[in-house]
Structures are given as structure tokens and as C-alpha cells.
Symmetry: C2
Subunit: 328 residues, 2 copies
DNA sequence: TACATTTATGCTCAAAGTGAGTATTAGTAG
DNA sequence: CTACTAATACTCACTTTGAGCATAAATGTA
């Protein structure tokens, strides 16, 4: 006898504007399916949630079509790039289960759009790094990181001697405290570590205890949505390197500096301008249009355009940002 | 009103032996849940299927645990490395739907094990390249590829003039016929292209027509399992590059040649021996044990071992096979 | 024992790619 | 005309890669 399972869809809809990565969030208080009984943990908490929609096997031929349809309907925008992220089904991930609701399995998608086009009631763009502040290294080591390291040190010490070594090892791998240095791709691993260590408030919410007993980091999201966001950010960072996906996030004509800012925003790293330029030009991903952008304040920048043909010519390499030239 | 959805799990269980990548398959005739009414398309066809199991929300706390449990139960082996691949839910992907069955959503996983330990009734190891013969370039251009190119040319020509260009472009990207050259990672893209072009027999089976009208390539699998296999092979090829996953597939002690053979088997490429050695040694992924393997036939090879510590020290790079040194 | 054979391992070298600068150019604002 | 700003160009040491040649340590055979 198989108990009930319900299938939903979640979307991490990313855009970049003003050199910040943005994620589209909705206010869960506006979502009709959340019963009031769940109390301050969800409703009334003002927590941001990712937009989500149902998967109806009677209507929807494929998951991706279902997603496209309701995102289109909710945001009045065509999303270009869509990719399946991960399927979440852990017990207890949806608090409605506690009220006798069905097990909710969510298939999460990543969507990339050009910001500005979207403006919907009950939804807004928020800075991704508000939720994951330790991920933004563009201004050097994030402020939060020292405090975070201390809190993690506490967590390491809170275990028996035997496990401390393992915990320390994991912390060092995730946050690059060892010889390894920072690895921008391990976004999810870091979030999950912080969750386990009780350093994000979702940990306490899931325990049914809205008051964290100790420091917590970053703005929380409803349900496990911050975990999903972390999955999405990690994915886009990885993808940047080997697929030309940045171009989904910018206008058709752009300056190389503009392109670099988008890459920096997503990767959370500052890049070396001249080398970035060399990398992008030599990759053959772009072509100059001959026209100039003179809103720069200094010498005008040439406007470039993505060469769609590269998909045919080469191995469509992406801008190699994270592996590529750092710092300025 | 939401129609019924059932959630299942599929596993692409990979191993490497005798320099061949193997996938664990079961005989779908032995699966009780397949009704006879489905006829020659599935039952009695002798088609191989991927092992699959149910997800029962009443029992299973997480998808991964559910998967581990029934794989353990079916194969009597602990699988070490497990990773979620993709969730498949397209309408019509399970032929039981046609008989009024529920929509079946499958969460597919990739598992890596050391072969030899598994021996279960109704299941056997099969060569991955039996199903995807065009993916094996170790002996140079696969034989099938010329015939395949001709068949694809036919498909291109079968469309109206306007679409031909697009079709040709897609074929060139996928199979590297253009300037691009072969890209080992696009396993799924290639399978999907062949499916669309009617060049795999699943296309005809799904049409309800068991006799293909034209050439088809590779051994078929039941349902959409060959697509899932392609997803898995593509994933492991990608992962090889940047995570030290090969070591999940080999014994604790190994020679560098043995390691190379495993990488070659999965990547489908022949590598340059001396450079592979240099790459692996310099990566710090392995350490010599001082002991020798003298079953080589020539000079004995030193036995190496994976250094688990690297996970802490560096960015755990993987053997960079595909990007790395080719040919011999 | 000397020697061919086989495979492992070591070394070299040119070409390409990368990190980190300095230098020059073409605008704007005063 | 000049100071300032940002874009673009060029340089240079260093590392990584692709490809091959050379040597080492086993085996089997004349």
C-alpha cells in the first residue's frame, strides 16, 4: 500500500541587475494552499518563498512544459533558458505533512531571464546574497565569514572527540579554511553544512522552534527553499564555465565590462579585467558590432554580441570564469 | 482535480571490468508489474531494463535511502557512490499509461560500484556500448558512425527546406561533424537526436509499431531506459573531469595503467599514457604503495592508492580525462 | 648468458594558456 | 588644453598541454 504523493514544481528564477544576482521570490502568505494552522513558522513570518506550482499529470505533458506554462502565466514573461535542477522529497520538507497532508515531492528547475521584464503582484526580486551572504567574495572575504568560522568552530567542539576530526575536515573542505582555498561551486554543500550545524534559522524552524539558540546567518526562506536556491546558484556557477549561459541573462548588445559584471555577480568573485577580455575575445563567443556605448564615463566601450554560430563551431565553452582569471 | 501520479526510482548502476563499462540490467519479463497485455513491445521482447523500484512515501524517508535500500536488497551489495541524475515524467514514457495506469514519474539515480560483487537472479551486467555503440571512440571512429551519418543525412533531407539547415546544424553539433570535433559529454543530446530521427528502435516501439521502417542503431532497452542510461553515461563522463569518482570503480590498490583503462572505458577515448601518468601523479590524487604488480607482462607496475586526504587539500580535481591528454 | 620482447616509467620540447602587470587610447568634464 | 576615467593593447614570466623519444625492469628464448 503506497501512501499519497503529490508532485510540485519549484523554480529558481535568476536574473542579474545592478551587478547583483537576483532571485524571484513570492510571499507565501499569498499562497492559498498554506493553511493558517502552520503558524508563525511559515505564515505571518514574512519569509520569502520560491514560486511554485502544481504538476498535474492530466494536463501537463512534460515537467518542463508545465513549468514554463505557469511561470509564463505568473510572470507574463517567456523564460528562455530552463534546466531541471533536482528533485526534493525528504520527509518533513513540507510542513503541511505534519498536518496530515500528503508527501510532497518537488522537482526544482533553474530558469534564467533578463530582469526588468517581470513585475507581478506578490512577487519580487531579491538579492541572492541576502540569503547566502557567505557566497559573495567580490569584495574580498565576506564579513560574515569570521563570525561563521567561529560558530562552526563551536559546532566542531560540540561533538565527541572521535567525530571532531571529521567535522573539522568537512568544514575545511566546504569553506576552504584548509590548504584548499575557496571553491565557488560548493554552494549546496556549504548550506547543508550550516543547516546541520544549526547556523541557519530553517534548522530551528524545522525543529518546531522558531527561536534559534545561537547565531544564524543569512535571511531565511520558507520550507527548504533556501536549499533549492543554493542548488541553483551552485548549478549556474558550474554551468558558466562550460556552457555559454551568461548570454541568457544579458541584452543582445553588451559591453565586455557589462558581461564581466554579470559573471562576477554570479560567481561571487572579482575577475581580472584585461584577462577576462582576452579570454572572452579569444573564445570566439562574441563579435564586436562596431557600435559604441558612451555611457561609460571614460573611453566608450564597444558593444558586443553573442555569436550563436559558436554552438556549431566549437565546444561552446562558456566564459570559464571561476577557473579563469581572478582578482583585479 | 489532479490525476494520479506514481513515483518510481531507476538506477543506472555502473561498473567497469575488462576495460568495458558495464551497466546492470534486469529482464523486464521478470518484473511482476508489467501486464501481459502490453504485448511484444515490452514483454516477450527480451529487452533489457534498468533495475527499478518503488518510492513509498509511507516507508522511505528520502529518495536516496529508498534507492540504496532496494538496490542493496536486490544486489546484496552496498553501493558507495550514489547521485541523483534526473527526473523523468514525460507523458507516455511508461506504456502502462496506455492501459489506464497512472502517470509514472521516475527519479533516476547513478550508482557506481566495483563489479564482481553482484550476482543476482534475473539481472546481469551488459556492456554500455552495446546500447550506445557510437559512444566508443577508443578504437578510432566507431564503425557505426558512417552508416549513422548517412541515416542522419536522410533525416535532414526528409524535412522541408527551411528546417534542413537547423537539422544539419544540430547533427553537426551533436556528432562533431562540423569544425567542432567529437565531444564526449553530449551523450544524451545524441541519443535524443537519434530518437527524434527514428534511428533507435524505441522510437518505433513508442509509436506502437514494433518494426522499424529504416535502419536503427544500438541494442534497445525497455521503456525510456536507454535515454536514462545515456543521461548516466553523460553524467559520469562529466564528473570524471572534476571530481575523483573513478576511484569508486576500482579496487583500493591499482596500477596507473589500470586506472587509465577505467577512465578510457568510461570516456570512450584513448589517452596518451605518459601524459595520463603525469596528470594523475601531479594532481596528488594518488600515492604509491611501494608494492608492485607483476602480472603486467613487462616491467612490473607500481601499485597506487587513492589519497582520501586530497579532498581536504585541494579542489579534488578528478583525472581531467576528456579535457586531458588524448590518443596514443 | 645474451638478447629480443614487453610494459612501466622518466625526460624533453615546442605550443598554448594563464596570472599579473604596464602602456596607450578615446572619450567626458572643467 | 588639461585632468580624469574607463577601455583597449601589449608584455612577460610561468604553468599546462600534446607529443614524442629514451630508459628501466621484468619475461621468455636462442
Amino acid at each position: 500500500m503506497t501512501a499519497r504523493t503529490e508532485v510540485g514544481l519549484n523554480a529558481v528564477i535568476l536574473a542579474v541587475s545592478d551587478q547583483q544576482p537576483r532571485v524571484l521570490t513570492v510571499d507565501p502568505e499569498q499562497l492559498p494552499e498554506i493553511p493558517d494552522a502552520l503558524g508563525p513558522g511559515i505564515k505571518g513570518s514574512g519569509l520569502a518563498a520560491l514560486p511554485s506550482g502544481p504538476f498535474d499529470p492530466a494536463q501537463d505533458r512534460t515537467l518542463e512544459l508545465a513549468l514554463r506554462n505557469w511561470v509564463q502565466w505568473q510572470t507574463k514573461t517567456d523564460i528562455g533558458y530552463v534546466e531541471q535542477l533536482y528533485t526534493f522529497a525528504d520527509q518533513g520538507r513540507d510542513p503541511r505533512e505534519r498536518l496530515g497532508g500528503p508527501r510532497v515531492l518537488s522537482v526544482a528547475y533553474l530558469a534564467l531571464i533578463k530582469e526588468g521584464t517581470v513585475d507581478v503582484a506578490h512577487s519580487r526580486w531579491q538579492d541572492c546574497y541576502a540569503f547566502l551572504p557567505w557566497e559573495d567574495w567580490r569584495g574580498g572575504k565576506p564579513e560574515a565569514i569570521e563570525e561563521l568560522a567561529a560558530a562552526l568552530e563551536g559546532w566542531i567542539g560540540a561533538d565527541g572527540r572521535a567525530n571532531r576530526r571529521q567535522r573539522r575536515e568537512r568544514v575545511e573542505i566546504c569553506f576552504g579554511f584548509g590548504d584548499a582555498g575557496w571553491d565557488g561551486y560548493q554552494v549546496l554543500e556549504r548550506y547543508e553544512l550550516l543547516y546541520e550545524a544549526g547556523l541557519v534559522s530553517e534548522y530551528w524552524l524545522d525543529l518546531g522552534d522558531p527561536k534559534p539558540r545561537g547565531p544564524v546567518f543569512g535571511a531565511p526562506m520558507a520550507y527548504d527553499h533556501r536549499r533549492i536556491l543554493a542548488t541553483g546558484l551552485g548549478r549556474i556557477r558550474g554551468k558558466l564555465r562550460y556552457r555559454p549561459v551568461v548570454f541568457e541573462l544579458i541584452e543582445r548588445d553588451f559591453t565586455l565590462m557589462g558581461l564581466q559584471h554579470v559573471v562576477e555577480a554570479l560567481s561571487g568573485l572579482r575577475l581580472h579585467k584585461q584577462n577576462f577580455r582576452r579570454l572572452v575575445e579569444r573564445s570566439g563567443l562574441v563579435e564586436g558590432t562596431g557600435r559604441l556605448d558612451n555611457r561609460t564615463g571614460g573611453r566608450p566601450a564597444e558593444l558586443f554580441r553573442f555569436r550563436r554560430e559558436v554552438l556549431r563551431e566549437r565546444r561552446a565553452p562558456g566564459v570559464g570564469a571561476l577557473a579563469g582569471p581572478r582578482a583585479d
